[in-house]
């Protein structure tokens, strides 16, 4: 079946512009994660959605970052007024039930964001 799909695969934007990154999880997966991977760094947790529960936003680095998940499926990560330090690969993952239930995360190929 289809895996996690992310779009666009690459995005170049000017400093100060807003960007939207999209994630289409595996069908039927209730848990969805966003991570950021900066050059030479590990994965930084951003936000977690589980079913219809309120998302865990504790990893969002600033109020310029927001995410939503419509209909329990597709998710959009929005970065407002982008800064150069936002340049990174943004990875989305989905899971059948979430890591709490020892259900593995399945990752998309990521969106490489470059802020010039």
């Amino acid at each position: 079946g289809a895996g996690v799909s992310q779009s666009p695969s690459n995005k170049v934007t000017e400093k100060g512009k807003d960007v939207e990154l999209r994630c289409d999880p595996i069908s039927g997966h209730t848990a969805l994660y966003w991570y950021r991977q900066s050059l030479g760094q590990g994965l930084e947790f951003l936000i977690y959605f589980q079913g219809n529960s309120a998302p865990d936003k504790s990893g969002l680095p600033s109020d310029r970052f927001s995410a939503e998940r419509t209909g329990g499926s597709v998710s959009t990560l929005t970065i407002q007024r982008t800064q150069q330090e936002d340049s990174a690969v943004y990875l989305c993952a989905s899971s059948g039930q979430g890591a709490f239930y020892n259900s593995p995360l399945h990752f998309g190929n990521g969106t490489r964001l470059t802020v010039t």
């Binding site: 977690y48 865990d56 504790s58 990893g59 890591a99 709490f100 995360l105 990752f107 190929n109 990521g110």
Partner: protein, 112 residues
């Protein structure tokens, strides 16, 4: 917060050699996952360890979990160029299972 430290940070081995990558947690481990990442791609799930002393194998890759040491090791036997990539360990945060932490990764190069 929970931290996962991986060692070594990078590794270059000759094809056919064995190697081991370690992942040590600063807190109690409730499950440990291993992933592999190739440049420009997402993470590929390798295996999950849930219990202390558990050992799993997939092809030439074996992973073990030592709960007492809060550590996991990934061992590759008779390495091949196809094993090259970045290996990351991940685990749920014991204070917030919604959060899933990753180590910073071990970059493996296999020389033919």
């Amino acid at each position: 917060s929970q931290e996962l430290e991986q060692s070594p940070q990078s590794l270059i081995v000759q094809e056919g050699k064995n190697l081991t990558i370690n992942c040590t947690s600063s807190k109690t481990l409730y499950g440990l996952y291993w992933y592999k990442q190739k440049y420009g791609e997402g993470l590929i799930f390798l295996m999950m360890l849930q219990k202390g002393g558990e050992e799993k194998s997939h092809e030439k890759i074996t992973a073990k979990l030592d709960e007492k040491k809060q550590q996991s090791s990934l061992h590759i036997t008779a390495s091949q160029p196809s094993h090259a990539g970045i290996y990351l360990c991940g685990a749920p945060d014991i204070y917030n299972f919604n959060k899933f932490y990753f180590g910073s990764g071990t970059k493996l190069n296999v020389k033919p």
